[in-house]
């Protein structure tokens, strides 16, 4: 069984083909790092898998079933923005609001629901963090707490959109370690999008690289190479490898680093990605 499967998928947004006849398969329990330039379609791909963005042609299946909106076997962690309003609230209340938030009719937060929330918090070591307000948490702690929400409903596939954004290297490593542990303990497949390969390179099974409407999946050694990336970026790309670190260079510019820096100062405008 595959966790996520794209068959000749074309997604068109605002007259532009974000993906054109892209095909790839994410196997069950596989940890995939998803990379690509800004606007290459990382967020769009996740939203399409969630049934939120329509496909122009082709088919997407999740756990061998066609995509439906509100699919309970997908855990999703959107890119962290727009949470400024709830910063005063405790982490627990925020997670609880997600746990019960799809139900109309004044649903009660019953014992079973509380157990489920505690279970999700425990899996990311956030039970204690949840007592504090979001505004008091560091970036890394907040990401862990938000990550717990993706576990509610015990999904089989996790779609994590840029969990490393604006974290320092130590916290990046912490989040990646938790993701890897979740894959092993909960036996889920993970698609983890990022701007930079290096924080992920030792944790992931394969890499999914997006660019120029195409999606290429495979082992890091085969995908992150000059010829493949030149095609995806539509520019001459050179990959420099020093031990376990990769540097994706266009001329003398480090493409990934540059993209990351751009994103930091420009949070609100990545919606069309």
């Amino acid at each position: 069984m595959s966790a996520l499967r794209f068959d000749d998928v074309t997604i068109r947004l605002g007259g532009r083909d974000i993906l054109s006849t892209a095909s790839f398969i994410v196997e069950d329990r596989e940890f995939i790092g998803m990379l690509g330039a800004n606007g290459a379609g990382k967020t769009t791909l996740m939203r399409a898998a969630l049934g939120l963005t329509p496909v122009a042609s082709g088919a997407i299946s999740v756990l061998d079933q066609p995509v439906t909106r509100g699919h309970s076997s997908i855990g999703y962690m959107p890119q962290n923005r727009g949470l400024a309003l709830g910063l005063r609230l405790t982490g627990y209340d925020v997670v609880a609001s997600a746990a019960i938030g799809a139900r109309f009719g004044f649903a009660r937060l019953d014992k079973a629901m509380r157990r489920e929330i505690d279970w999700a918090l425990d899996h990311v070591d956030a039970r204690d963090l949840a007592r504090r307000s979001l505004g008091e948490l560091s970036g890394g702690e907040r990401q862990r707490l938000l990550l717990s929400q993706a576990l509610l409903g015990r999904p089989r596939l996790l779609l994590l959109d840029e969990p490393l954004i604006s974290l320092d290297p130590a916290h990046q490593k912490g989040v990646v370690d938790i993701a890897r542990r979740l894959r092993d303990e909960l036996r889920v497949a993970i698609v983890f999008s990022a701007h930079e390969l290096n924080p992920l390179v030792n944790a992931i099974d394969r890499v999914l690289y997006l660019g120029a409407g195409a999606a290429v999946i495979g082992p890091v050694d085969e995908v992150v190479t000059g010829p493949v990336l030149s095609r995806l970026y539509g520019a001459e790309i050179e990959v420099v490898r020093i031990k376990d670190r990769f540097f994706v260079m266009a001329g003398d510019v480090d493409v990934e680093r540059d993209a990351h820096r751009h994103e930091r100062g420009d949070h609100g405008h990545s919606h069309g990605e």
């Binding site: 939120l52 999703y76 609230l89 209340d93 925020v94 938030g101 004044f106």
Partner: protein, 263 residues
Amino acid sequence: MFEYDFMRTAFAASGVAAILAGTVGFFLVLRGQTFAGHALSHVGFTGATGAVLFGLSPLGGLVGFTLVAGIAMGLFGEKLAERDVAIGMMLSLALGLGLLFLHFYTSAATQAAALLFGNVLGVDNSALLTLLLMAAASLAALAFIVRPLIFASLQAELAEARGVPLRFVSAAFLAIVAIATAECAQIVGVLLVFTLMVGPAAAAQNFSRRLAIGVALSAALALAEAWGGLTLAFYSDWPTSFWITALSGVVYFASIAARRLAA
């Protein structure tokens, strides 16, 4: 002061409106849509003056107009409800139209003052019953949507992915806000709706980090401010609306101080 019939009615009416405003206002502040709430009250002014001009009940016009405007804002999507300039324009346009209606209506002055600044002592028993029924219906509707509303307010993208109908929730909520606005306008007038809708809610969010406690506190503060204002007005003979705004301001700024001290 309770020996007077009009005072008993005023206490009941302001109590009903305050509890509704405090509860609904909490979510308005949580969603960052306070300006939308403010604009709705101005639309209500147009509705009320228009209704008077055509010989209809001002409360009917107030409720009708705010309700339609609230639902429209919600349906246009989250984005519009947060767009300051568009809302600001709508707000002044509404006030301008209201002014035009008043211009055509001869006994304008007292009517205008009552609409703009409230006249809680003028609420009669049939109006009280209307307020009570509208508040009960609004709170029931709020309870029905409250879980998806909180989820959508805090994390819209995640809520959408989990199947929450964002647009429906947004429109339903602004319809509830519209009713609450109309009720408040009866007590403190359209210009001062903020004082009961936003003041207590913002203070409650400064005082508490828990959702449930925050909602209860917001309603309690609104009630205390409304009744406190009435009492002070009774003994001082100054306007009720003034006292309510004063109390609301004091409580809000105290909450900021308390938050600073706690941090």
